[in-house]
Each structure stands twice: as structure tokens, then as C-alpha cells.
């Protein structure tokens, strides 16, 4: 459905997108993952025909975006980072306008009603867009992209600025849209792509660093698992005993987050489950286990690992810089969920 070949975009001396190639098949949901400024928006703007590329080709359903722009654009519904809304229009007028602009052949009344019901904006149809909340504006933007039932949906950070309930709604909506449309959506939240996508492209500093299914990607990246452990006990002794356990590769002291307890980050072998042994050891010493959870990789870890892999430095993710990034990333992820 979508074919991107050796896409390059330069702004003066800055290279925003550096030789990206990928294909998206019919009905696939593709997640575009990357930190801010990685080139996600630029890539999406090029795919939608808003910007042109410095070199490379993009074709949408066999139509080149440069040579047959109108045929290619007719297949795309695009929700840019800032929804392109006219603040002085009512929602209904705005959707009518987009309907006319896109020269849609479906019947107007039922088609727009269906979209409004889908993104749940029917109750605000008569209101002026500038008076709507950010969440509703985002949904009107999404409705705009859906008009004309395009085969391809390109959604640039569709969940930014929404409250947690709305985020879940939009995610479910994207999932259900994926049954009939080819969807590309970008985000900087890892759990979001994991929840929604069939395939993930990871992009960093304009370059593609990974192209995989969510499970394969995490399996590749893990190379062992990590446990976050909270124990009520003397930190140096617990640390020593944890390190002695079978299958434990590395233990990191995380400090005190709850009074009377200590947090550890335990890295273990892929195959061996150390949780049972760990519990037995702690029980034996009468150190109550206050918390135990899998510590997932977050975006920063992924980048560090992926870029480390390229530079053949497997240790790069474990230094002090990695730790700092991890904590910051953890906080952001927490806030986003």
C-alpha cells in the first residue's frame, strides 16, 4: 500500500530524515516510534504530500506522491501534529467544508454522521471549534482525516493532550480502524505502540534504527529481563545476597523510595526465573519483600540499546547516563499512562 524508498529530507545543512525505506501492507497498523525531533513529523508530512523530499520516492497505492499528487492524496487521511482546524467555524461547517474539499462521493449526511458517532463528537457538532477542549479538537481533527473513508490513515501523535480515558478510547479506535484501513501513527510512548501496532518502526535522528513486530523487538532488546525489587532490610546485606543468587547478572541499588525499604534493579538471565529463589532467600533472612515487578524497557533504553548495537558497545546502556535517562523516561511514561 505504501512504499517509501531511500527518503531523505534536508533543511539546509540539517538532515531531518536520513535514507529511510520501508513498506506498509494493506490493513497493517504501523507504529512510528521516536523521541521528539527524531524526524517522525517530517516523514509524515512527506508521506501526506505536504512537504517534498530532498531525494527518494514515496508511493501510495501505486501512485507517486510527486507525479500524481492528487490521486495519491485522495487515498490519504492525514491528522497532523496540530489538527488543522478553523477556530471560527462550527464543527459541522468544518466537516462539510472538508467533505467538499476532498470531493467525497459518499452521501454526505450518513457519512458524516457515521464519522461523528465513531469519534464521538455528535454532541458538539453545532459548537464553534475554538470553544472546544483540546480533547474534542483532537477528535474533530481525527474526524477530518476519516472523511472520504481513505485507504491510508496517517496520524501524527493522535493521543497528545488527551486525558487517560480519551487516550484509551483513541487507541481502541485506531485498533478498530486498522481492520479496514492501513494506519501509520507516530508516538513517543512505547506502551502505546505495543498496545496498538502490528509493526514498529523506530526512528532516531532521522534514521531507521529498527523495523520489527512489537514482540520480536522487545525480545531482541531484552537479552535477559529486569526486575524491580523493593525489600525491607539492610541494603548492603540484601545487595550482597541478591548478587549471590543463581542467574542474577547484575544488581543495582536504586535507593530508598519508601521509608524503611530499599529498591533494587536486578538483571537476570533470559532463561532462568529467579523470582522463586529470591523470595526464598529473602524469607529465610526475614527481609519482607514489599514489591516485585518486571521493569520494562522504556524508549530511552531502546534507543540506547539499538544505537549501542550499531556501534558494537553492548555496555553503553548501563552507564550513569543510561541510568539518568531511565529515571527520566520512567517518570514520563508514568505520566502518560
Amino acid at each position: 500500500m505504501i512504499e517509501v524508498n531511500h527518503l531523505v529530507k534536508r533543511y539546509g545543512s540539517k538532515t531531518a530524515v536520513d535514507d529511510i525505506s520501508f513498506r506498509v501492507e494493506d490493513g497493517e497498523i504501523l507504529g512510528f516510534l521516536g523521541p521528539n525531533g527524531a524526524g517522525k513529523t517530517t516523514t509524515m508530512n512527506i508521506l501526506s504530500g505536504y512537504l517534498s523530499m530532498t531525494s527518494g520516492t514515496v508511493s501510495i497505492g501505486g501512485c507517486d506522491i510527486l507525479t500524481e499528487p492528487n490521486r495519491a492524496k485522495a487515498r490519504i487521511g492525514y491528522l497532523p501534529e496540530h489538527p488543522p482546524l478553523y477556530p471560527d467555524m462550527t464543527v459541522r461547517d468544518y466537516l462539510y467544508f472538508i467533505y467538499d474539499l476532498k470531493k467525497v462521493s459518499l452521501r454526505r449526511g450518513p457519512h458524516l454522521q457515521e464519522i461523528c458517532d465513531l469519534v464521538r463528537i455528535s454532541d458538539v457538532a453545532g459548537r464553534i471549534i475554538k470553544h472546544l477542549s483540546k480533547g474534542y479538537q483532537q477528535r474533530v481533527g481525527l474526524a477530518q482525516a476519516l472523511i472520504g473513508n481513505p485507504e491510508v490513515l496517517i496520524l501524527d501523535e493522535p493521543t497528545v493532550g488527551l486525558d487517560p480515558k480519551q487516550i484509551i478510547e483513541i487507541r481502541n479506535l485506531i485498533k478498530s480502524l486498522g481492520k479496514q484501513h492501513t494506519v501509520i501513527f507516530s508516538t513517543h510512548i512505547l506502551s502505546e505502540v505495543q498496545a496498538v501496532c502490528d509493526r514498529i518502526l523506530v526512528i532516531n535522528e532521522g534514521r531507521l534504527v529498527a523495523d520489527d513486530t512489537p514482540d520480536d523487538l522487545s525480545a531482541k532488546l531484552m537479552g535477559g529481563s529486569r526486575l524491580a525489587v523493593r525489600v525491607a532490610g539492610p541494603s548492603d546485606q540484601v545487595l550482597r545476597r541478591l548478587r549471590e543468587l543463581d542467574g542474577v547478572k547484575k544488581v543495582e541499588l536504586q535507593g530508598i523510595k519508601e521509608r524503611g525499604t530499599v529498591d533494587f534493579l536486578v538483571e537476570t538471565d533470559e532463561k532462568l526465573d529467579v523470582r522463586r529463589a529470591m523470595f526464598d532467600m529473602l524469607a529465610e533472612n526475614q527481609w519482607p519483600l514489599m514489591g516485585l515487578r518486571n521493569s520494562e524497557l522504556n524508549l530511552e533504553d531502546i534507543f540506547l540499546r539499538l544505537t549501542a548495537k550499531e556501534g558494537e558497545q553492548p555496555d553503553a546502556g548501563k552507564g550513569p547516563a543510561g541510568k539518568g535517562a531511565r529515571q527520566k523516561g520512567g517518570k514520563r511514561k508514568g505520566a502518560a499512562q
Partner: protein
């Protein structure tokens, strides 16, 4: 083109822009008509038109400043430029919407002419020529203003620059009479002046050269607007 035209036309009247433009034009034309015709007991409208025409050109930036600057500021140009519509038809839609508001505003002059005609005999050709001339000057100025609006995100900058350009075009006429200029230079300046071309129309003479001049200016600036949009895509 139809969708953009309708949306633009509505947007002039969703905000105060369209109303303000029409109100200012009506007010000024009323003042001029009162001065040049009513208090002067005259049915001769050419002095009314010569004042009115020059002033209206300076109000046109009010109409054109938002055309693209606003779209860029609200990022709504992304919806326009990613829709399966050609750049020319978007541009023309916007141009004709501005033209429509302009025509509605200046149509008041026809009301004045009819009022005069019911009391005295008027020179119909002078009126037709003037109205026709005003439509052409307006088309040229709107195209220029639209182009300038496409170069910036700020409506204020677009309005001020368009205003400056209008003033320059008006002054060209007086530049051509500066002493010491070679004949050929003053001829060229005069030929390029948006206002000296108007003289023929104001006395009821219909000259193809003038019509072509105004239409070319409009066409060139519409073309440049499309190129500027295209260039932004390529930059």
C-alpha cells in the same frame, strides 16, 4: 475550487473582516458622494470615482491580509495542501472569494449612480467605465495582496506590506514626472503604474491595453502565489 471559495466567503463573515471592509467602503463612498455630488449640485461622477478608487485600494489589504497568513498560523494550510485539490484551484477559490466581498462593497456606487440618474441626466459611459476600471484595479490589488499574505504568518505584516506596495504604485505616477528623467524611463514608469492606467476608464474610454495590463498583473500574482506554495513544499 468551489469548496474553498464558499469557505473563504463564509470566513469573511464569521469574523468581522468582511463587515469591516464593507462598512469602511460604504462610509467613505458616502462621504465622497456627499462632497463631490450632493453638496456640489453635480451629476458628474468622475471626480467621485477618482477619489473613491484611490482610497479603496488602500483598504484592500484588510481583505487580503488573512488569506494565507491566517491559514499558516492556524496550520490549516496542512488540510488544504494535503487534500486532493490542485494549488491553483485553492488559490483561485480564495481570490474569487475576496473579489466577491470587494464587488459587494463597491456595488454601492451603482446605487449612487441610479440615485443621480433619477434626478438628472448622467454620463452612463463614464459610470460604466469607472465601475469596470475599479473591478480591474481591485483584481490586480487583491492578487498582489494575496501573494504578500502568502509570504508571512503575520496578518499585520501582510497588511502593512500590501499597504506600502499600494502606496508605491500610487506614487509611481508622480515619479514619472520627476525632472531629469530620460523620456524612456518615465514612459516605463508610467506604463507600470497601476493608477495612470485608470485614467482612460475614468473618462469612459475602454482600452484593451489597459484591460490586458490589469488582468496580467492579477494573473502574474496568482501564478506567483501558486509558485510560492509550491516552493514551500520544496524548500
Amino acid at each position: 475550487m468551489g469548496a474553498v471559495y464558499r469557505k473563504e466567503l463564509k470566513s469573511y463573515f464569521h469574523s468581522a473582516t468582511g463587515y469591516t471592509f464593507i462598512a469602511v467602503v460604504l462610509f467613505l463612498s458616502g462621504v465622497f458622494f456627499f462632497m463631490t455630488n450632493i453638496t456640489a449640485y453635480s451629476a458628474e461622477m468622475s471626480s467621485f470615482f477618482s477619489m473613491f478608487q484611490q482610497i479603496v485600494v488602500f483598504i484592500i489589504p484588510l481583505l487580503t491580509m488573512k488569506i494565507w497568513a491566517d491559514e499558516k498560523r492556524n496550520k490549516t494550510d496542512q488540510a488544504l495542501l494535503t487534500a486532493p485539490v490542485g494549488l491553483l484551484s485553492i488559490t483561485l477559490g480564495k481570490f474569487f472569494a475576496a473579489m466577491t466581498v470587494y464587488l459587494v462593497a463597491i456595488s454601492i456606487t451603482v446605487v449612487y449612480a441610479l440615485t443621480l440618474a433619477s434626478f438628472a441626466s448622467v454620463d452612463t459611459l463614464v459610470i460604466i467605465g469607472n465601475v469596470f476600471g475599479m473591478i480591474l484595479v481591485g483584481a490586480a490589488m487583491i492578487a498582489i495582496g494575496m501573494f504578500i499574505s502568502n509570504l508571512t504568518e503575520s496578518q499585520i505584516i501582510a497588511a502593512v506590506v500590501t499597504f506600502g506596495v499600494a502606496l508605491m504604485l500610487l506614487l509611481l505616477q508622480s515619479f514619472s514626472t520627476l525632472s531629469g528623467l530620460p523620456e524612456i524611463v518615465s514612459q516605463i514608469i508610467l506604463a507600470a503604474s497601476l493608477f495612470s492606467r485608470y485614467q482612460d476608464f475614468s473618462v469612459g474610454i475602454f482600452s484593451y491595453a489597459d484591460v490586458i495590463y490589469y488582468l496580467s498583473v492579477a494573473t502574474v500574482f496568482i501564478f506567483l502565489t501558486v509558485r510560492a506554495l509550491e516552493k514551500r513544499r520544496w524548500a
